[in-house]
């Protein structure tokens, strides 16, 4: 499903990670500065590895030896950032529809309805991102990523910018997403409790190296 074997030098910091995953939710766990975000950005194509390969769903999107680097916009991935990054000039409905338009996909009212119900964002449609709470913004960002029909969903500390109360508000949606949306996910977090609830497999990173690999048990 997802195969990563990359090396990247970022100033003083060197990242060298290799793992393969068939899990539904891969939890990338590590302290800040362990290289989690750089690794996710490489899977997204926003960062180019110095050496190595990345294979998503059987398609080689990076292979430095063969000179392959598929640009981000052709990777068919979804990316939920810590800071939502909704388009401020578009309302919620237009934000949600953006990925479908850019990929030239036909409207899919069934999926649209299902995801809007799943995330409870039906009432927000006409609002501008500036008028949403942090939790609402993150739910819309999740919906926006899912509606572009990605084959892999990347979530980089999606709860990181929220306070405890908001986190508890969003977590159930993520669990539902995992169980109902049928899209494999890479979930980045430095919070072991969060990952215990969500992940089906853990990749533990420490100073740019994978230190353990396995089920949620490795978190203890």
């Amino acid at each position: 499903m997802l195969r990563v074997d990359v090396e990247k030098q970022l100033g003083e910091f060197s990242l060298s990670a290799s793992f393969t995953s068939e899990g539904r939710v891969i939890g990338l766990f590590g302290a800040s500065g362990s290289g989690k975000s750089s690794l996710v950005n490489m899977i997204a194509g926003l960062l180019r590895p110095d050496r190595g390969t990345i294979v998503i769903d059987g398609e080689t999107v990076d292979d430095t030896a063969a000179g392959i680097h598929v640009p981000t916009y052709r990777r068919r991935i979804g990316y939920v950032f810590q800071d939502a990054r909704l388009f401020p000039h578009l309302n919620v409905a237009q934000n949600l529809d953006y990925g479908r338009r850019m990929n030239g996909l036909a409207p899919d009212p069934t999926q649209h309805r299902r995801i809007i119900d799943l995330l409870d964002i039906g009432a927000l449609q006409d609002r501008r991102p500036g008028k949403l709470s942090g939790g609402e913004r993150q739910r819309v960002a999740l919906g926006r990523a899912l509606l572009s029909k990605p084959r892999l969903l990347l979530l980089d500390e999606p709860l990181g910018a929220l306070d405890e109360g908001r986190k508890l508000e969003i977590l159930p949606y993520l669990v539902r997403l995992r169980d109902e949306a049928n899209v494999p996910m890479v979930y980045v977090s430095h919070d072991a409790a969060e990952l215990r609830q969500l992940a089906t497999q853990i990749v533990m990173l420490k100073q740019g190296r994978v230190t353990s690999l396995g089920g949620v048990k490795v978190l203890t």
């Binding site: 916009y73 950032f81 990054r85 401020p88 000039h89 990925g99 850019m102 500036g130």
Partner: protein
Amino acid sequence: MFEISPAEWTAILLSLRVAVIATLVATPFGIALAWLLARRDFWGKSVLDAVVHLPLVLPPVVTGYLLLLTFGRRGLVGGFLADHLGIVFAFRWTGAALACGVMAFPLLVRPMRLSIEAIDRRLEQAAETLGAAPWKVFFTVTLPLALPGVLAGMVLGFAKAIGEFGATITFVSNIPGETQTISSAIYSLIQTPDGDAAAGRLVIVSIVLALGALIAAEWFARRATARLHGN
């Protein structure tokens, strides 16, 4: 007293036509250049930046003379355009538009560049992860978010173009009905006896146009801020 004569109207309308055409033609180039300066690093970037700003600091008469040398009938570019495309700039209103466009260009580019620089590049990254190719990112995210800055640049460029004098009179002279803009009409009027009243009327028209442009530019700038904050 405030009765604008047909001759004055001719100058005002010509000025408007020259400034509108200069602004509209310069805008796509301005946007492209603003984007290039805001988003790309390349060899000779600071030189390009300096050349664009040159008309701002050069004596206008020098810019006008250089335009005459280049785009005049016997100029390198002007000769080619006249012979092959039938486009003549020298002593025509089109030449006035060219001179005004060149002089207005630095003012037109600046707000556009600033507004592109102010856009959070992470939004463009987000667009890319949603499947938007670079040119689609530009047209669906970058340009809409920069639009108030683009409009502000157009307004400022327009205001500069409508008041341009030195380069225009050097390049295309001061022919009533063809190249006599508001500025060159005022210049002629204050040198004629009894021209004061007419000059005064044109001065007031100039002030109104310039003020209107500044207020409009300010309004667009405020819209830009609101837009970037998603309100």
